[in-house]
Symmetry: C2
Subunit: 420 residues, 2 copies
């Protein structure tokens, strides 16, 4: 009788805040350069099977209890692993009881916002930043001030000026949000001296720091080839979050938060009222696998990612020539690019999708979208090297067809195609 | 240096809406008669290991993609299983594309509330109801009207009067929330004729129905020894949710929603902005296990639960005599009791916990808490039969010590203890 076709009887009863409907899922693009996807070949399937079996044999019966009876902070073995990992590689002194497991770092962001923010508050973000922060903050009606970046992260002179300016207006920001280790989207690592300067400024102006280290384990070369986390340098000032999405698999929804108990206990109260715990089978499996294989896993992953980055940088140079200015990342899964000012990447979105290419337009990844309409983010985590080469070439073709840029350059394949 | 002891530097920057801090987790009570815990012995550990292995071998590489590339509605095989299950046992015609997988039914509740509710709205709940609904609605500033229940669920005469009364006040409730099949906490099943009456009233007054069937698979005897779901009878009027917490394991965070696309597409838009998908390993494993073992699993579980219910009913009769009036449930994991009016169960909470007994006080499970201070809910899902007998006896001792009720009755063990 196809009852569903008649439609919901009461659309007029929706809340005034309801968003537009989601479209039906159309699948990922062929050349999928968006989002935090990872390398399919590096999901350790057999090792995860073994880890799940070991963990289920030992603790499976406890699945009958909410949170396995471990309480709202999460599965004890995963919290122990996080504390160990943060101590070993990020300089953080912590025990399992200091750690909260979250359903991805996205939930951590929401929880931090719920503890601190009300509509009309002001926060400081990095000028180029994670789209998720921006979307969440805009829905909350929070004012966002962008702090300028260079190749070492937030510029401290600029941040000091912003804080002084806000103070003159009588405004204390609710937090400074930073991704100091593999910044999103520039891929920079903030040096130690600058971390100390940042903490000093935060102390001077009385502003908490929200530190997101979801990419920190994916530095080129050795794990955590980076200064200690900001949290390690001053735990009273900093709320620290991280994720297993990037180091293992984003379809597993696991992240973590570490913060002083006075803060974390508020987060736990809000989380418990909402979700009745984080998925236990994923916690068990990841705890078991990473307790044994973390270092070797992220080292292999980082090597593979660096190889893909090199492929993407070469492809961008070959296809765009000097028209594209990349920021060279020190780790992670993305390349942040600038095209000439006259290119508005928003106008390329649909033509690129038609050619099978999905990319992140700069205006969605920057505090001042209009000023950054010629920037874009290309993720290389999930595409194969062949797909990277083909996809960047396809994107360059679309860009040239739509904007005339890149002009035909020294690149032989392009010149030939342009002349045919 | 014990930096954490110094405390978070900025507690004065918390939002005014921040809740009180969560306490440190103290563990579950020895006689744990609260919450939707399940039977530890019935977690099918080896079958889950096999299911996880099969699913990971087939689809594990897709964990590298957000939502495994299946889009925001969830893992396709789990949605297919839900559609099949709802068709086979709940009379619902649906395909996988009509189903949204959620992180437990709690997320489903939050999402429905976000689509429909604003502060100051009115909703109708069953007078005895799930604590989670009440807590969430109170946080949203929504007015709650309780509809009287009898052994067949909501009384239609009373509901008609409430709707007429609200209409006279110019109020249309945003929804009528009901658990028609194994009502929480009374365990009733609404007969078919009353389901049709409910839908007719909802149509007459233009009120959506929010149907929660999280216990519907756990009827005594055969699965779904109950009339079709309300959604099956009129999909345009009803938003339907369910859960795997009760049929499999609450530490796995998996539930589902089915609703007309006009509604569901709004839910998906909100969910996607918040969580980046539901945990995939749990979806994969449950889809694989339940696609093969659902009927036998819930039949064994229901038999075990019925046996425990009988043990609890006997224990309550033995220890409380006529002082306790139980509602005899037709399925599920809890027993709803009334003690004499002079007993305020809130005053028993702490003494009972000291004796190792945790129970759900009626005031937290009723729209009008003060009027229901002598009611309580005892869950029997996780306790063994021995624990049920010991725990109910311990609870009766506490109750007698605190209130003089139950008086020493024909029960020999109690009489002997009372006389010693």
């Amino acid at each position: 009788m196809n009852v569903n076709d008649a439609g919901f009887a009461y659309p007029h009863r929706f809340s005034r805040q309801v968003p537009p409907p989601a479209p039906r899922w159309a699948g990922n693009a062929r050349y999928n350069f968006i989002g935090g996807h990872n390398d399919r070949a590096l999901v350790p399937t057999e090792a995860l099977i073994a880890a799940a079996a070991t963990a289920l044999r030992r603790d499976g019966a406890d699945l009958a209890l909410y949170s396995m009876g471990h309480g709202p902070q999460g599965y004890a073995r995963l919290r122990e692993f996080v504390a160990h990992k943060l101590g070993r590689w990020r300089g953080i002194e912590a025990v399992a009881d200091d750690v909260l497991i979250t359903a991805g770092s996205g939930q951590g962001i929401d929880l931090i916002n719920q503890v601190l923010l009300e509509g009309g508050d002001t926060v400081i973000l990095e000028e180029f930043t994670y789209q998720g922060y921006l979307n969440k903050l805009r829905r909350l009606g929070v004012d966002i001030v962008g702090a300028p970046l260079d190749e070492d992260g937030i510029r401290m002179d600029a941040l000091a000026a912003i804080l002084a300016d806000l103070k003159r207006q009588g405004t204390t920001p609710k937090y400074i949000c930073t991704v100091p280790t593999i910044q999103n989207p520039t891929g920079s690592i903030m040096p130690l001296s600058r971390r100390h300067e940042l903490l000093a400024l935060a102390r001077e102006y009385g502003v908490p720091i929200f530190e997101d280290e979801c990419y920190a384990d994916l530095t080129w070369g050795a794990i955590a080839d980076a200064p200690p986390a900001l949290y390690a340098l001053d735990p009273r000032q900093v709320i620290h979050i991280g994720s297993f999405s990037k180091t293992l698999a984003p379809a597993l929804r696991l992240g973590y938060m570490i913060a002083d108990w006075e803060f974390l206990s508020r987060v736990i109260a809000i989380k418990s009222a909402g979700d009745s715990g984080t998925g236990a089978l994923e916690q068990m499996t990841v705890a078991e696998y990473f307790s044994q294989h973390f270092a070797e896993h992220v080292e292999e992953l980082s090597r593979t990612l660096k190889d893909k980055l090199d492929t993407m940088v070469e492809a961008v140079a070959r296809e765009f020539g000097t028209a594209a200015e990349p920021w060279l990342p020190k780790g992670g899964i993305f390349l942040w690019l600038k095209l000439p000012d006259q290119v508005d990447v928003r106008k390329l979105l649909q033509p690129a999708l038609k050619a099978g290419v999905a990319f992140n337009p700069g205006p969605e990844w920057t505090v001042d979208g209009e000023a950054n309409k010629s920037r874009l983010r290309l993720c290389f985590g999930s595409a194969t090297k062949e797909e990277i080469r083909e996809g960047v070439a396809a994107f360059a073709r679309v860009c040239r067809e739509e904007t005339g840029i890149p002009q035909i350059s020294g690149n032989i394949r392009h010149a030939a195609r342009g002349a045919s």
